[in-house]
Each structure stands twice: as C-alpha cells, then as structure tokens.
Assembly symmetry: C3
Homo-oligomer: 417 residues x 3
C-alpha cells in the first residue's frame, strides 16, 4: 500500500482533470475500475458539474529567469483551480496571491478556489522571506474549460444484491494521508474481499470530494435503496489511533458493528458522534438519503498539524498504520457479512441438543463450554428481533463464536434465517 | 422591582379579601390587569369558593390597654382567616391560640386556617416569654362573609394564539420572597415581553394559591388546549441560586428550554424533578390537565429558615437576585419563541451555499466558521423531527447561532417552517 | 426448614425414580401436594420422558469383600443414571469409571449421565489414592426401565386466577443447598402465603430440573397465559448474600419488584442479567414462552467451591440464611400482590382532601406528612399508566406507605382500580 501512495503522490489531482484520470489509471492496475466521465454543466442534485481544470506548468521566476517557486517541484505550489496568468509584477503586488504558513515556515500549505475565479501560489514562509523585492514573472499555464468530472467504481459482487459502499475522495493533490492512504486501503480492501464471494455486494467509489459524491448520488437514485451500509475512508495512514465517526442515525448497523469490532479488538480508538462536516459522509448522511454510512479515519480531519500541508507526505503515513486500518475494515465487514437475524424453530423450552449431536460436535474443542453457551444464547434470542451482533453483545461472547453456533444450529434445522 | 416589593409588603393578603384587591390595584399601575371576582359558593372543579375574609384590626392588650401584639405592626400577627373574637382571658387560656417559633425566638411565624374556623395570633417567642401571667384582652375585628375570590390576568398578545402562562400566587401577607418577589418579577417580565410582539401569547395570572389556580382552571376549560407552556414563579428574590422544577412530563418543551438556558448560561443552578407538592404547578400538572408547566424559584419552597416567617422581609430579597430571575425568564422565553421545526427543502446532499451568497454573508463576521457550521447542522437535522433546540443541543452550538442560521436559510428559501 | 433439609438429605434423588417420590411424600407432610406421574416415552415439547431409574445398592469391594466405596454411605457415590453392572476388574480398568476432585481430595463429586448409558462411581481422591492395585468387585444394582417421571404441585388459591409460579428442582441427590434449601423455603413460603388469601394464585412446582420443567410446560399449555409472574428458587441456604437473576425480559414486573424490595431492604445483594443457563428459568424464559420468571438464589449456580460436591451438606446451609431468603420472598410477593394501577376519578386539579376527612385520618400518626405526600403522589400519577410501584419509585416513598394511601383514596371514592 505504501508503494501505491508513493506512486500516486506526485500527481496533481483536483476535483476534475487529468490528475484524477492518471490516479484512477494507476489504481486500475490493482483492481478493475469502471470510469465515469460526467460533462461540465450537468445538473447534479443542487449543484452543477464545473469546468474541467488542467494545468501543465506554473512558476514564479525572478528576472534572471530562475524559478523561485515551481509547480514541477510540488503540485501544492499552485492554488487549486487557478485561472491562467502570465504577467510580470512587483513582489508587493504578488504578495496578495501568495499563501504561506507562518507558524510552520518550512511547510507549503494546500489551498483551492473551486467556485471563485482566482489564481495564486502556495509556498513556504521561509521561501517568501528570502525573496528580494523587485519584479517577478508569474505564470500559470492552466485551462478552465468544458470537459468532464471523472470518478470510478469497482464492485465486488456478493451473494446478495444489498450493497455496502466504500468511498474515498481522490481530489487532493500531493497529500499522502489525505487521501492517498485512504485510496490505497480501499484498493487493497477490495482485493481482500474478492478472495471469496462476500455476503454483501461491495461497491468502491473513487470520486472527488463533495461534487463527486453528489454526482454519484445524483446518478444512482435507483440504487440508493440497495445501499444498506457504507464507510467513508480518509486519513487512513497516520500513526494516530483509529477514529470511527458514526452515521447521522448513530445506531445504524455499521455503527454498531464498528463500535463492536473496535471495542472487541482492544485497539485504542475513539467513537465520534456524527457532525455534518468532514468528508463525504456529509452527502450520504444528508437528511434526504440518511444512509447508514460512517467514516473511518486514524487522526480525523484537521486533527494533526501536517493536515493540508506539504508535511503530509509519504513519510507521514506508515505501512503499519495502513495495514491496521485495512485489518479493522476486514474485521468489520466480516461481522457485517455474518450478522443475521434467525428464528428459533423450537422456541418452547430448550430443544434437546444432545440428541442432535450438537454437544458431541464440541467434544474435542477447548472452547466447548463457550460454544455450548453460544448455542443456548442464539436459541434464546432468535425471536426475529435480535441479530447475532445483539446476541454477541448481550452474552459477552465473541461474535465469531456466536456466528459459528448459529451455523451449527442452522445445520441442525433448529433455526432459520 | 424592589420598590414594588416594599410597597406591597405591608398589605394583609389572604386567599380572598381587600388585601388582594389592593395588591392588584398597585400591580395595575405597572401593567393593565383584568380583575375577576368570583362569588363565594361557586363550584370550581372539586372545590367551592369560600367566604371572603376581611380584617380591620386585631390585638392582644394587657389590662392597662397596652397592645402587646398588634396587627397594625405586621399582618403576620393574625392567624389567616381567623374568625372574629373579642374577649378577656388569662394568658394560660390564651396560649392555646398563640403560635411562635422557639428556634427563632425573635421571628413571627406565618400561619393560616382557611378551611377550619379558628382564631389565633402569631408572635415572637421572646414577646411571649416577656408576657406576665394575668388577664389579656384579645380582639380580632374580622369578617367572614359571602363575597368574592379575586384574581387578575394580564395578556401580552403574540403572533400566534398559542399561550404561555406565567402564574404567581398573591395570597401571602407580609412575606417578601414568598411571593412579592415573584409578583414583581412577573410584572416586569410582562413589560419586557411587550417591548416587541412576542411569538407566543403570554398570559400572566395573579391569583391566590391553590383555590385561585383551581378557579382559573375551572373558568378556562375552553382555553386549556391553547396553553402550550407555562411557568410558576415563586421565591424569586432570595440570594440563593436558581432552581427549576420540571413539569410532571419532565420532557415538556419548557423543561428542555429551561434546562438548556440554565446550563448554557453557566449560572449555578439546580434542576429538580416534579413533585405534586409546592406551588400551583400542582394544579396545572394534575393528571387531567398535565400541562407543560414548570416552576422557577431561587431557593425553593421551605428551603430557607426565613420561609414563612417575619424574617422573609424586603431586606431578605435582593434587587440583583430579582434581576437575575427576570433575565433567565427572558432568555428562556426568547428560546421558546424562536424554537421551531423546519423542513429542509433540498434534503438530498448539501445545497450549494456559496452560490446563494450564504458564505459571503458571513465574510466579515468573527464567528463565520460557527455560523457556517450552524447552517450545515440546521440543514442536516431539518427533517421535521428536530427542533432548533435539538439542533443546538446536538451540535453544541449556541441556540442563537442556530436560530440565526435557520433565519438565513429560510431567507434563501432552503428550509420552510 | 433446616430440619426438613436434614430429613431429605440422605435420599437418592434423580430426574426419575423412587427418591423423588419419597421426597415429595415428606414435603407432602407440610403442605398438600398433587403428585403427577408421566409415563416413560411421553413426548414433552422437544424431549421424551426417559426410562425411570432406580437403585437399591452399589459398591466397590476389595477381594476380601470389604466395601471401599458404598452407596449406602452417600447417594453421591454412584454416577446418576448408572446402568447396572456386576463385575470384577483390576483397578487399572476401574479407574476409567471413577470420578474424583483432585483439588478437594476429601470431597466426593456429584456426576450424572442421564442420556448416555454409562456407569461409574464418585469418590474422594484420598480414598482412591489409598486403594492398592489389584482386582475389585464392582456392583451397581440399578434398573433402567419403563416407568414414570414424577413431579408435584401445590396451589395457594388467591383472589384472582392470575398465577405466580414458584418452581424448584427436586432431582439432586444428597446436596443440601442445591436444592433441599430451595425446597424447604418453597414449602414454608407456601404455608406463609396461605395464612390469608393472597391476591394472586400461587402455584408451587416441585419437579426435576430441565425435563421436569419441560414436562410441566408441555402439560400446561392452556394455563401459561394465566402465569403472570414467577420465581425459580435454588441455592437458597448458603451464607452468601442474595442474587436475583432477572427474567429474559429484564423489565418484567417480578424484576422490578425484586429489585425494589432488595434495594429498599438494604440487604447486600446482587441483581444479575438473564442468561440462558442456570436453573429452570431457562425453560420458562425460552423465547416461545418468555414468561416473567426470575430466579432467586443466595450464591448463584457454580459460584461456591462446595457446589456439586459432598461438601454441600446440611452444615453448609444455615437456618438464618433460609429464613432470610423466605423473608425476601414474602416481602416481594406482598408488593406484587398490592401493586395495582389506579385511575384518579377527580383528575382535574387536586381534589379537596380535607373536606373528605383524609387529612384528619392522619392526625395521630407520626408519619402524617409522609402519608399526605403519598396521597398526592397517588392522585397525581393515577392516570392508568403508573402502578403503585411506579409511584413508590418516582416519589421515593416506601411502597407500603403508597399502597396505604391508595387504600385510603380508594375508600374515599377518589380513585378506582
């Protein structure tokens, strides 16, 4: 995953343009992607797909021609969606277009102006401080023109058409944790899920933030009813502990599963309430959709000083952290895929388990007692109201033990799904 | 307010009689009152309006004619509703009619006997101790006769006919905190509310305790459905911190508003559960009515040693405390008047706020970020289920910020009431 | 009660057989019992009544004829439901049929094999250690044959046909706390309840564990709807504090009553969540029945080292502990029998209590104030939704005070049941 982050890092992504296409092409080497191109001007919910932005070169050069700020060195140097410019102007005038981080003088900030026509450069405060007064050549070789918004999907077909969506934003330029780590975890998660057919169908969405999610929602109105659960992946690779931000509903099944898995795994973690700010859970959890979609991050949105700066580089994300994020997703989806409600077909008194060989089957197991308790719990709570996760939480038994017990009882014809 | 307390203090009020009329006349100089006179014998719910009690003079005099206890000095000296008496008797016999406070030998207690024909005097223990044995002349020049029960209403008309009632008892004689302070706060609250037309219609009820509230309820059966919220004001001027006693329902809107305002204001305060004892919330919260009426006091009922004694005098109540009680009422009613449920008219995804100038409108504000968050919260929770108070509590934002955001969104046509 | 425990102790009980019959005969000397005999092979819910087991003698003897393990000394020495055996075999072979407790070398364990044909002996580890190698005569003079399962009922008729069941298992051989103490407490509880006609009808069930409860449930399908509450009594005599295990529902009336009584009594105690393991609450709380049946023990199931060993003898249970268990049952059933919902017939405002003499009636009582508060609380909450237990819990008043107040108000015609 870290290699993928490093490979994607130099590309200049934005909410539209060739940087997104190049990113999806590389991801497509790992998992097959269906790429969608949506024309400029398309109405998507309350929004309109904007002009496509592409950039070839940008720099500030002194009168000797030496580039003192160069887009080729980092895609962060240009204000996202900058209109083209080609002028010479004194530093005093140029300053109004320069963005720095005085508190972190060696870092370059990340700034955009999607919906207001502007241009600008981002640079280190110490670079700015070193510039002598005088005239500078400024040039941004960009185009803003009718084109397309690009996003992609990858589907892991499941046993049922009910869908789990996994979404990550692909619109940020050279920022590693936000969100190349999320893209990498999603990519490898898709591959892991495909190892054997999962219960749910898993749909991965790689789209620019906000406008991308809105575009997907606008174009998939008929599919929304099939989306039962979802997870927005972001900031998936820093060394902080995990944060799960709950869906707007707060008690959606994904919320309960994530809380259970994080608590049961004894990882340090935090469960946060929903807020209508953050990543694309904002759109999935808008009141008209109100989907059961939460968000998994390590250190959340804006919670670390490197956030939205050049310090969020590949060294900031760790392979171990990404592996851990991936592992939690797999554990959670394993629970989600096995979490069913059963009906006890012999609900009056306990059925005689011994007669059916259900005790014998446990003979050689060291956890036979626990497995037997799990069978009694599943029988007792399988009244159509309780899911296996309910059983696990009420009994205090591991989810897998409960699900195995349900499998044995189902095999013996004592419960039905 | 303190001047009003001092002016009302000498009057001898009871559940009927000229003391109540004189009190209402003085209050009527501040706000117009509609005075109601309900004849003795009128059936009111389970009760009957009693005979009217009036008193002109009362004293205990020694045989030299010197008044050792004199009603003219304090209205507390006579047992409320004392039947007339004019006799000479030895101190030994008189003692059976005397009430003192041995634990506070310099204080005169307040006692009544509304529904049992008795007579008596209240005096300081040290006065009693100083009386030589011997004969005393006792005289109570009172009348108990057919008459009326008197109460008054003042209405501040609102934008809607839905009513908030503010009730305070006017039946206690020379006791400042209980309840002249409540009367004074109610009077000035009515004036403040009238400064501009409030959303709700506010009805102030000045009536004797128990029988007065019961009389009002009996005579306003057709109006009860319009009473949406209410507050009983008592003990509004002592130097203790505020106590809000919740309605029987416990989750009525007035309960939530008072809890929110008290918590948000960071005043020291206490929220108490409903009990069927106290002031006229007993009647408003009887199970047949079960109105959303709570009670606001400073130190509550019987919670201070001066309660129902001559020590509850104008010096016991402070102008600052009354001003603070008034301020909390105004803050609470401001929330109550703005607390609406809206419906997001663009509930699928977030609407584009920038396009509508809703971000620009925040440009110059120091709290622009908070205002933007408030808009996102209002949009996200405006599903017809959540009130603005719900939004404020869930978001942790100040109610006014939330209500302002709702105003802006309403102005932009994004939500409707 | 302790005498009854001692008398029942030597009998060899099992899930069927003459030991159960002898036990019920002795209990029948205290309270009249209706004994039921259900033939082998009868289908009961998912189970079948097994063959009846009876045993006359059993021993291990050395070749000199000396009995080294003798059933006559303790009924625990034989594996319950042992098939007959009469052989001579070397100790090495015999060991496969011997059960000991190495951690408690002087104690004899209790073991059974109801549904798998086996034979075996239970003995002290130190007895086993003292046996020289060599040949031993082993003999179990038992029969497994068509017969009956035996259980008994005792009914204390109440004012209403709604039933409370009290169930205790009678299938354990010489174990005092588990469950002779439970049998003794149930027996004396039945006698105490009969002292005056209780409100509910109380049905006591003395039956073997699991198969007995299942048999009762199978044969009483038409009665189940009448069972409103129930209590399984077990481990009722050890010196530990009380544990109430809640019904599957967790908020059944018996759960609330037991929690209230245990908390109000200020006894040290524990309230445990339902689990589908333990005693016959497993059957009564299976999802098809889901009865409001909890379980009262002192130290619960398997919670003490003496559990299921020869150390659970009459010295292990104390008369005081049994008396305490009995007292709690009586207190709980007293609450259960008085816990009604009333309807305030004068719900608009407070009714005038003085006019009806309801204050006077309290004149001489030291707790007059509390009694008056109880009347106000009962009036305020008697809306058909709240039971007297709700009133007691919300008011913080003792249940009996509340129930007495309801009685007075009912007598005055102010509330109806």
């Amino acid at each position: 995953m870290h290699a993928l982050v490093e490979r994607l890092y130099p590309l200049c992504r934005s909410i539209t343009g060739d940087g997104v296409r190049a990113t999806l092409e590389i991801v497509g080497e790992y998992i097959p992607l269906k790429v969608h191109e949506v024309p400029t001007g398309t109405q998507v919910l309350d929004w309109t797909v904007p002009e496509e932005w592409n950039i070839r070169d940008a720099y500030i050069a002194d009168l000797s021609g030496k580039r003192v700020v160069d887009f080729a060195a980092s895609s962060l140097h240009v204000l996202g969606y900058s209109v083209p410019v080609s002028r010479t102007m004194p530093l005093a005038e140029l300053r109004g277009h320069l963005h720095t981080l005085p508190d972190h003088p060696s870092w370059v900030p990340y700034r955009t102006s999607y919906y207001q026509p502007e241009w600008g450069f981002c640079l280190a405060q110490e670079t700015l401080d070193a510039l002598p007064d005088g005239e500078y050549e400024v040039r941004i070789d960009s185009t803003l023109a009718d084109g397309h918004l690009t996003y992609a999907e990858h589907v892991v077909p499941g046993q049922v058409p009910d869908e789990v969506i996994v979404s990550c934003h692909v619109c940020h330029p050279s920022l590693a944790n936000d969100n190349l780590a999320g893209i990498a975890v999603a990519t490898f998660l898709a591959r892991a899920l495909a190892e054997r057919t999962p219960y749910h169908t898993y749909r991965f969405i790689f789209a620019p933030g906000t406008i991308g999610a809105i575009t997907w929602l606008a174009r998939n109105a008929e599919r929304i009813d099939r989306v039962k659960h979802g997870l927005v992946l972001a900031c998936a690779g820093d060394r902080g502990s995990l944060t799960y931000k709950q869906s707007r509903r707060g008690d959606a099944e994904i919320d309960r599963v994530m809380r259970h898995v994080l608590a049961a795994s004894e990882r340090p973690h935090r469960v946060a309430e929903f807020t209508p700010y953050g990543y694309d859970e904002r759109q999935f959890c808008s009141p008209g959709f109100d989907l059961g979609v939460g968000s998994l991050t390590r250190t959340p949105y804006a919670g670390y000083p490197e956030y939205h700066t050049s310090a969020d580089n590949p060294a900031f994300v760790s392979p171990e952290a990404m592996a851990d994020t991936l592992a939690v997703c797999r554990e959670a989806f394993a629970v989600l895929d096995r979490n069913r409600r059963y009906l006890n077909l012999s609900p009056y008194g306990e059925p005689q388990l011994g007669r059916r060989g259900l005790y014998d089957s446990l003979g050689g197991r060291s956890d036979a007692k626990q497995a037997q308790m799990a069978m009694l719990w599943v029988l007792n709570l399988s009244d159509g109201e309780h899911s296996l996760l309910d059983v696990a939480e009420r009994s205090g038994l591991p989810f897998d033990t409960v699900a195995d017990a349900a499998g044995a009882l189902h095999g013996a014809g004592l419960i039905k799904a």
